[in-house]
């Protein structure tokens, strides 16, 4: 077990839309610490600000005012110049987004995308091919898939390919934005398990955003519950699930459907 080191630290994060008096708070996160090899889940319903928080971690909040600190290693995403951010994105922090197929460029073969993304971070030629092959094996995709276009693969395959991109780039932090909600139920579990395994094997700091407590309950070490832009509850998964402090968390827990066994 490597000693836990913080891959991502958020302090006093506030994301606002508009300026001055009209400013509307979209998301606030007083403190969050994601250590390597752990998983933090941000849970909330639509409008809770969970996705905005995730995008702030990538510095991809166009037109929004962000304050506070988001440290990835030594870099503060909030204040870093755009040039430093473009290097950081992908190589240090990678995104797995909600709609797997539409997140892949429809006119580009998967192999081309993989090659370009690796080349963007200075990985070319034989090394790039090796990395791509290893990453695909890691997510259990057939390398033959690289010759296909996004519309020729299934949703689960597309999501695994997106994860493979993060693996190939050896990103320390993986941000997963509702990675399973667009997938069929039988595929969801497999993709979640894949993310969980990679977290353990590669020591990835995984931030998982979801609307469903049940989905994250099995793989999250720490759970943050958000509502209307504010953190309602934050704590170790066992505490949040076992002894929820906030009414809203209890409501979310009650809404988890069961088969009534």
């Amino acid at each position: 077990m490597t000693p836990p080191r913080s891959s991502l630290t958020v302090t006093d994060l506030k994301v606002r839309a508009g300026e001055g008096e009209d400013a509307r708070l979209l998301a606030s996160l007083p403190h969050l610490d994601v250590a390597a090899g752990t998983c933090v889940a941000i849970v909330g319903e639509s409008g809770s600000g969970k996705s905005t928080t995730l995008h702030a971690m990538l510095g991809l909040t166009d037109g929004l005012a962000v304050s506070g600190r988001i440290m990835v290693g030594d870099t503060d995403v909030v204040t870093a110049p755009e040039k430093a951010l473009t290097t950081l994105r992908g190589s240090r922090v990678a995104l797995v987004s909600q709609s797997p197929q539409s997140s892949l460029n429809p006119t580009m073969r998967l192999g081309t995308l993989m090659r370009r993304v690796l080349a963007r971070h200075g990985i070319r030629g034989a090394v790039a091919r090796q990395r791509a092959d290893d990453a695909l094996r890691d997510v259990m995709l057939d390398p033959e898939l690289l010759r296909r276009y996004p519309h020729q693969i299934s949703g689960g395959q597309a999501q695994r390919f997106a994860i493979a991109l993060a693996v190939a780039l050896r990103a320390d932090v993986v941000l997963a934005d509702e990675p399973t909600s667009a997938l069929d139920v039988t595929v969801q579990a497999a993709v979640l398990q894949l993310l969980d395994r990679l977290r353990a094997e590669h020591g990835i700091a995984l931030v998982l955003v979801s609307h469903d407590l049940a989905v994250v309950s099995r793989i999250a070490d720490h759970i943050v519950v958000m509502r209307h832009g504010h953190v309602v509850e934050s704590g170790p998964a066992a505490d949040v699930l076992g002894a929820p402090a906030a009414d809203y968390t209890r409501e979310l827990l009650a809404a988890v459907p069961t088969l009534g066994e």
Binding site: C39, E45, S46, M140, S154, G155, G156, Q157, D184, V185, T186, V187, Q188, A189, A190, Q193, L194, D196, R197, A200, E201, H211, D212, L213, A214, V215, S217, R218, I219, A220, D221, A237, A238, L241, G242, E251, L252, L253, A254, A255, V256, P257, T258, L259, G260, E261
Partner: protein
């Protein structure tokens, strides 16, 4: 009341529903104590469940087989019989923002439905109150409502013609989880207050027991298992039903012993394998496929008194 007989539907050359037979009884008074009187169609994307719903509603024409209402083919109904069918079978679609005309106020949408009644019927206000909404919302347009409110309006519009059977196509899956629960409460409530039967179409097994007591599990356009909801869900006979049941996210903590294990490679690979063109359509994803599954497509056959399954190697009923 409403039956599908060997229903087959094709879009162009692609057949999406293969010979499905279903039967939905008329609501004869309140269902027996404990029974829901509802039927569920369960399946994932590509299973043909939405197409079946559309065929039952007469929105698509079957390429073979029939949908019959009161023993008459719904595509050959005469004018009065057609009106009768329309007033007794109503849909509730998945997405309230899609199912409501964005240019009409809630009141206008409801009045349009009320006008199709032969009798006076309830008022718009009464309809809105029946689904737990403030009658003042009648003046709003759909985009001025929340997702849960929109779905309630959709239900109110269906109730306007006083139907007996509601075809619910993923009625809650577009909603936030806490809102889902309340819409399900409403549906449960209405079953007795408005004397409704439900045909529930969903990919989410967990919502089934609340509304239905019979289920049909669909895979690739065919019914692979059917029977009483509690039995099928607690002891699935078909491996696909078992996979669906196991996929329900359950609360648990990472410390639980059975989790955090890496997924068996075979299972991950299988989870998005293709549908087989020959033999059993499920065999590529099946953990226990036999040689026979490659060559011979299983047909639906009785398992016990009430249950049927289409599998060469079903799990025995518990």
């Amino acid at each position: 009341m409403l039956t599908a007989d060997n229903l087959t539907v094709a879009y162009g050359r692609k057949t999406v529903v293969h010979g499905v037979s279903l039967s939905l009884d008329a609501a004869t008074g309140a269902p027996a104590a404990g029974a829901q009187g509802g039927v569920a169609l369960i399946g994932e994307s590509g299973s043909g469940k939405t197409t079946i719903a559309r065929a039952l509603l007469g929105l698509v024409k079957p390429s073979s087989g029939t949908v019959r209402f009161a023993d008459q083919d719904i595509h050959r109904l005469r004018r009065t019989a057609r009106t009768d069918y329309r007033s007794r079978v109503q849909p509730v679609f998945q997405d309230g923002s899609e199912a409501l005309n964005p240019r009409m106020t809630v009141g206008t949408s409801l009045r349009e439905a009320l006008r199709l009644r032969s009798d006076a019927g309830p008022t718009v206000d009464a309809l809105l109150e029946a689904v737990g909404l403030d009658p003042q919302l009648a003046a709003r347009h759909p985009h001025q409502l929340s997702g849960g409110q929109r779905q309630r309006v959709v239900i109110a519009r269906a109730l306007a013609v006083d139907p007996e059977l509601l075809i619910l196509d993923e009625p809650t899956s577009a909603l936030d989880v806490t809102v889902q629960a309340r819409v399900l409460d409403l549906l449960e409530e209405l079953r007795t207050t408005a004397g409704l039967r439900y045909l529930l179409i969903t990919h989410n097994l967990a919502v089934v027991p609340r509304l239905c007591d019979t289920v049909h599990v669909l895979f690739a356009g065919r019914v692979v298992e059917s029977g009483p909801a509690t039995e099928v869900l607690t002891s699935p006979a078909h491996p696909y039903t078992a996979a669906l049941r196991d996929a329900i996210p359950r609360l648990g903590t990472p410390d639980a012993a059975d989790t955090r294990s890496s997924a068996p490679p075979a299972r991950l690979e299988r989870s998005d394998a293709q549908t087989a063109a020959t033999g059993c359509a499920f065999r590529l994803r099946c953990p226990a496929a036999l040689d026979r599954c490659t060559t011979e497509a299983p047909t639906l056959r009785p398992l016990t008194d009430h249950r049927e399954v289409a599998c060469h190697h079903p799990h025995g009923p518990a």
